[in-house]
C-alpha cells in the first residue's frame, strides 16, 4: 500500500503518468439532465497518456454520463471537458465526427451494425475516415487477429456470442488506432471467464500506447486489476487511487494473474485468444 497514491480533486492536473497534456481532463464538470436529475457534480479529473484506468460505481452514479460527455453525445451543463488539451465543448457540431474518430468507444450493448458481417463492421470505422481499400484490407484482418476473431470474419453479429460481439466492438473501436479508447461496461453482460479475456484484450491494446478507460460496476474485478481506479457515487468522485507495481507486466502475465486471482484455471477457455502482441 506504500505505492498507493491519492489524487485529490483539488489538484486534478497532478502528475499525468507520461509527459504532455493529459489526454482527458475534466474541470468542474456538472451535468444536470432536463427534469433536474443531477448526474455529475463538479467532477475534476485528469488522465495521462498511456494510462489504463477504471471508473467504478453503482448503477446510476454517472459513469455512463461521463462517457457520453467524452464523445460529446451529451454536453456538460457546466465546466469543461478537454481531450488532448482541446476543449471539446467549443467544437462546432460539424467537427464532432472527427473527435469520435480519435476516441474509440466500446459500448455495453456492442452497438454493432446488424446488417454487416464482422469484417464490414470493423471496416466501417475505416471507411468513415476515408481510408483506402488497401489500408482496409490490411488493417481489418490484422485487428480481427488481435481480438481473436480471425475465424468469424464473415459471420453476422447475431451469429456470435456476447463475448465475440464485444470483441468485434473492441476491434472496431481500435482499428484506426485512436489515442484514447473508452469501454462502457465491456464485460457487463459476460461471464467471468469471458470478462477476463476482454480485460486482457483491453490491456493488450493499452500496451500499444493507447489510453484505455474502462467503466464497470464490477468492483471485485477492478480491485484485482491493481490499476488506477476512480470511484463515483451519486455524481461525485469518492475515490481516486493508483495501484502501482503492475504497470509493466506482460499481457500473458496479466491474464495468468487475473485468472489466478479470480479463481479461474489457466486452462479455462480463452475465446480463441491468440498469443500476446
Amino acid at each position: 500500500m506504500a505505492l498507493l497514491r491519492r489524487r485529490h480533486r483539488e489538484q486534478p492536473e497532478a502528475a499525468p503518468r507520461r509527459g504532455g497534456a493529459p489526454i482527458v481532463e475534466l474541470k468542474d464538470v456538472t451535468k444536470v439532465y432536463p427534469g433536474g436529475h443531477l448526474a455529475l457534480e463538479r467532477i475534476s479529473l485528469a488522465v495521462g497518456r498511456g494510462e489504463f484506468l477504471f471508473l467504478v460505481g453503482p448503477t446510476g452514479c454517472g459513469k455512463s454520463t461521463l462517457i457520453k460527455l467524452l464523445i460529446r453525445e451529451l454536453d456538460p451543463t457546466e465546466g469543461e471537458v478537454r481531450i488532448a488539451g482541446r476543449n471539446i465543448g467549443a467544437l462546432p457540431e460539424s467537427k464532432i465526427p472527427y473527435l469520435r474518430r480519435n476516441v474509440g468507444t466500446v459500448f455495453q450493448d456492442f452497438k454493432l451494425l446488424p446488417n454487416r458481417t464482422v469484417y464490414d463492421n470493423v471496416a466501417y470505422a475505416l471507411q468513415v475516415i476515408g481510408a483506402g481499400r488497401a489500408e482496409i484490407r490490411e488493417k481489418v484482418p490484422q485487428t480481427l487477429r488481435l481480438v481473436g476473431l480471425s475465424t468469424k470474419v464473415h459471420n453476422y453479429p447475431d451469429q456470435l456470442s456476447g463475448g465475440e460481439q464485444q470483441r468485434v466492438s473492441i476491434a472496431r473501436a481500435f482499428v484506426n488506432h485512436p489515442p484514447l479508447l473508452l469501454a462502457d461496461e465491456p464485460s457487463g453482460n459476460l461471464d467471468p471467464v469471458t470478462s477476463i479475456g476482454i480485460m486482457q484484450l483491453l490491456y493488450r491494446i493499452n500496451r500499444t500506447g493507447t489510453t484505455v478507460l474502462v467503466v464497470t460496476h464490477d468492483r471485485e474485478m477492478v480491485d484485482k486489476m491493481r490499476r488506477r481506479v476512480i470511484e463515483l457515487y451519486e455524481g461525485r468522485i469518492i475515490r481516486d487511487e493508483t495501484g502501482g507495481g503492475y504497470t509493466e507486466e506482460s499481457t500473458s502475465d496479466f491474464g495468468m494473474r487475473m485468472r489466478a486471482e479470480m479463481g479461474v484455471g489457466p486452462e479455462g477457455h480463452t475465446n480463441g485468444e491468440p498469443e500476446g502482441l
Binding site: 472527427y98 469520435r100 452497438k111 470505422a125
Partner: protein, 300 residues
C-alpha cells in the same frame, strides 16, 4: 470516385437487406405516379373545355337594314381596329334566317312571315372573355351625358352578353377551383404517402444511423447512401408506373379518342413531357424525402 462507388454499394446493400420496406416504397411510388399520371391529363382536359366555353362568348352588333355595303365595310375595318378583338364575322340577313331556321323545330313558322325580320350583324369575338366589356365600351363609347352612343350610325344595338359572360365566368371559375383543389390535395396526399413510406424504412434503421454517428461518420457520409437509395426507389417505381400508364394509353385511351372528342382533347400535354416530369418528380421526392427524414436521427 471510390467514395461514390462506396455510397452506391452501400445503397444497394441496404435495399437488399431491407427488402420489405424497400418494396413498400417502390409500390407506393408506382401507385402515386399512376394516380398523378391519370389525374394531370384529366385536369388539363377540363381546363381546356372551360377555355372552349369561354371562347364562345361574343358581342353581337346588329345593323340597320338600310346600311350600305360601303358603310358596312368601313365599320368592319373600324371594329377590327379595336384592341382585344380577336375575330369578326359578318352575318347577313339571309344567313341569320338560315341559322334561326336550323334552330327551330318547325321551319314553316318562318315561311309564313313573308319578310325577313332579322337584321344583319357583326359577331365580334374578344381575345379573352374578360375583355368583352372593354370591347363593348369601344363600340358604344358614352357621350357627354353618359349614355352610350354607337360609333357608327348604321349600328342599331350592341347585344351585350355581359350577364351570360358573368355566369359562364362563375361556372368555369368554380369548376377550375374545385379541380385545382382536388388536384392539389391529391398531390399533397401522394407526397405525404411517399414521404411516410420512406420515413418508415429510415425509422427501421434509426439505430444503425445512431451507431454510425457514434463511430464518427459525418452526416453526409450517412446521408448519401440513403439518398441514392431514394433515387433507386424513385427510379424503379416510376419506371414501372410509366410502363403501366403507357399500356393504358395505348390499349384504352387511344382507341377511344378516335370516337370521342373529349378524350382527344387530351393533347393538351404530350405524353412524353408528362412522363418525364413524373419521372423526375418521383426520383427527386424519394431522394430528398430520405435525406430530410434522416435529419431527425442524425442529431446524436
Amino acid at each position: 470516385m471510390s467514395r461514390l462507388w462506396f455510397f452506391i454499394l452501400e445503397a444497394f446493400r441496404a435495399l437488399r437487406r431491407n427488402a420489405a420496406p424497400s418494396m413498400a416504397a417502390v409500390v407506393t411510388t408506382i401507385v402515386t405516379v399512376i394516380l398523378l399520371g391519370v389525374l394531370i391529363p384529366v385536369f388539363q382536359t377540363t381546363q381546356g373545355k372551360s377555355e372552349e366555353v369561354r371562347d364562345q362568348l361574343e358581342l353581337k352588333v346588329f345593323l340597320y337594314d338600310d346600311a350600305t355595303r360601303a358603310e358596312t365595310d368601313s365599320l368592319r375595318q373600324e371594329i377590327e381596329g379595336i384592341p382585344h378583338v380577336k375575330s369578326i364575322d359578318y352575318v347577313t340577313k339571309a344567313e341569320a334566317l338560315a341559322i334561326l331556321e336550323e334552330r327551330l323545330k318547325d321551319p314553316n313558322v318562318l315561311r309564313e312571315l313573308n319578310t325577313n325580320p332579322l337584321p344583319a350583324s357583326f359577331n365580334v369575338k374578344p381575345d379573352d372573355a374578360a375583355n368583352l366589356e372593354s370591347v363593348r365600351q369601344a363600340l358604344t363609347p358614352p357621350d357627354s351625358s353618359g349614355t352610350p352612343q354607337p360609333i357608327s350610325p348604321i349600328i342599331d344595338t350592341v347585344k351585350d352578353s355581359r350577364e351570360e359572360a358573368g355566369k359562364i365566368e362563375q361556372v368555369t371559375g368554380a369548376l377550375k377551383l374545385v379541380l385545382t383543389v382536388i388536384t392539389a390535395l391529391l398531390v399533397v396526399a401522394s407526397l405525404m404517402l411517399v414521404g411516410n413510406t420512406i420515413r418508415l424504412s429510415v425509422y427501421a434503421r434509426r439505430r444503425e444511423v445512431e451507431v454510425m454517428r457514434l463511430v464518427g461518420a459525418t452526416r453526409w457520409f450517412i446521408r448519401w447512401p440513403f439518398m441514392i437509395e431514394g433515387v433507386v426507389v424513385g427510379f424503379a417505381g416510376s419506371l414501372v408506373a410509366i410502363l403501366i400508364l403507357w399500356l393504358g394509353k395505348v390499349t384504352i385511351v387511344d382507341p377511344l379518342s378516335d370516337s370521342f372528342a373529349l378524350v382527344a382533347a387530351q393533347d393538351s400535354m404530350s405524353f412524353t413531357l408528362l412522363i418525364s416530369i413524373l419521372f423526375a418528380a418521383a426520383i427527386a421526392v424519394s431522394a430528398i424525402g430520405s435525406g430530410v427524414t434522416l435529419r431527425r436521427f442524425l442529431r446524436v
